[in-house]
Symmetry: C2
């Protein structure tokens, strides 16, 4: 990490908590909110991977709507059109993890170029960072929509290299999703895995270069290097 | 379905029950067998999709071994090398669903060419059909390994069209996996979904042409057509 010249973050599950929507799910089906949001997230991921592999791309909002419809049917927990719209709208305003705002502030103070590379559409990414008041932290908001396929396809990871105009070896990719960290590592980025839950890493032929329990730990590591440098 | 000239079956979860291995899992961790086999299957699927999308293909046995290793770590249920080998070996001898042997017999009696198209390697497919005494039912055993990518990529579905030497519109594709049925439908096969569990179909932009609760129902449908014809 001697020559890191930019940091690219995944958004969903990495900087922002996808289970922010569990509370609203719970208002529709009391006691079942986290169960709904967990299956919804699982199916959302599956649908992005499967549609990419089938060559049947739809944007992230569509995959998210489709996943919620399936979830409601599978769990036999009815959600009418208005409820589904409200829940998908809530996905545009999910919350950052608690340590994230200050950590981004400290990284920006080090003059480190920061970017987001997400499977979300440009509209989704913009909505989430704006609603949380963090839009000004990022020099680039990069959507898989530009490649018309989802991560972990290499053409999505390539978008960030092109936008930052740095070689991939000089860009640190940060994700909490082990499959995403694996894809980025296969592409050639140095990778930091944020493992908040203490899970094992996925067995996809790669290991992360760095593992931290929260974004603050990564910032601390950078600050120590600068202090020592 | 007027002009069906061949039937192509998925193997895992369609003709054969992947949870056949739950019993052996249970001998290693009593009471946890089904939990292990369920997560193992989920991760096995994810790893085939993710590696395909990353362009990092490994064969099905490797993905299966990797998925079991992750499962054991995630559930903190230790499995030593010998246990993991025994479990992966059990995957080569999984059992057909109860109605399958007779249903295949009746389809063969109608002189309908039958094939398997599976993400399993040629060795895995051969082992499973031989161990269950059903190898003689199939004219073709077709492995995704020939395409070096997994379903639902279209190049895997193409393998069956090429082998059967029939136009895709004349080949009935049968799967219990909704994502697989969706992929085959996008490719252009007429599709029968075997929905043993009474689940909703996945929201991937397609619907199956036929839905049955077991393979015997599909056979019955064919026999009625012949009787009426």
């Amino acid at each position: 990490m001697e020559k890191i010249r930019g940091i690219v973050f995944d958004l969903y599950g990495t900087l922002y908590d996808v289970h922010s929507v569990a509370g609203l799910c719970d208002t529709y089906h009391p006691g079942r909110g986290l169960e709904i949001s967990t299956l919804w997230r699982q199916k959302q991921l599956e649908y992005t991977w499967l549609r990419s592999l089938m060559g049947q791309y739809v944007d992230f909002e569509q995959a998210t709507r489709d996943a919620l419809l399936f979830t409601s049917r599978y769990l036999t927990l009815p959600l009418d059109d208005a409820a589904r719209m409200a829940l998908c709208d809530a996905y545009l305003k999910i919350k950052p993890y608690p340590e994230v705002p200050e950590a981004l502030d400290r990284l920006q103070a080090m003059h480190m170029p920061l970017a987001i590379l997400s499977n979300g559409s440009a509209h989704s990414i913009r909505s989430v960072v704006t609603a949380s008041g963090l839009a000004h932290r990022f020099q680039h908001l990069i959507s898989a929509d530009s490649a018309q396929i989802f991560k972990p396809h290499h053409s999505v990871y390539k978008l960030a290299e092109d936008q930052l105009q740095q070689d991939r070896s000089a860009i640190l990719f940060v994700s909490s999703n082990a499959w995403d960290a694996s894809g980025a590592r296969h592409f050639g980025y140095p990778v930091c895995w944020i493992n908040r839950a203490g899970n094992p890493f996925d067995e996809l032929g790669q290991s992360p270069d760095h593992v931290v329990a929260g974004l603050d730990q990564l910032v601390h590591w950078f600050e120590e290097r600068i202090g020592a440098g």
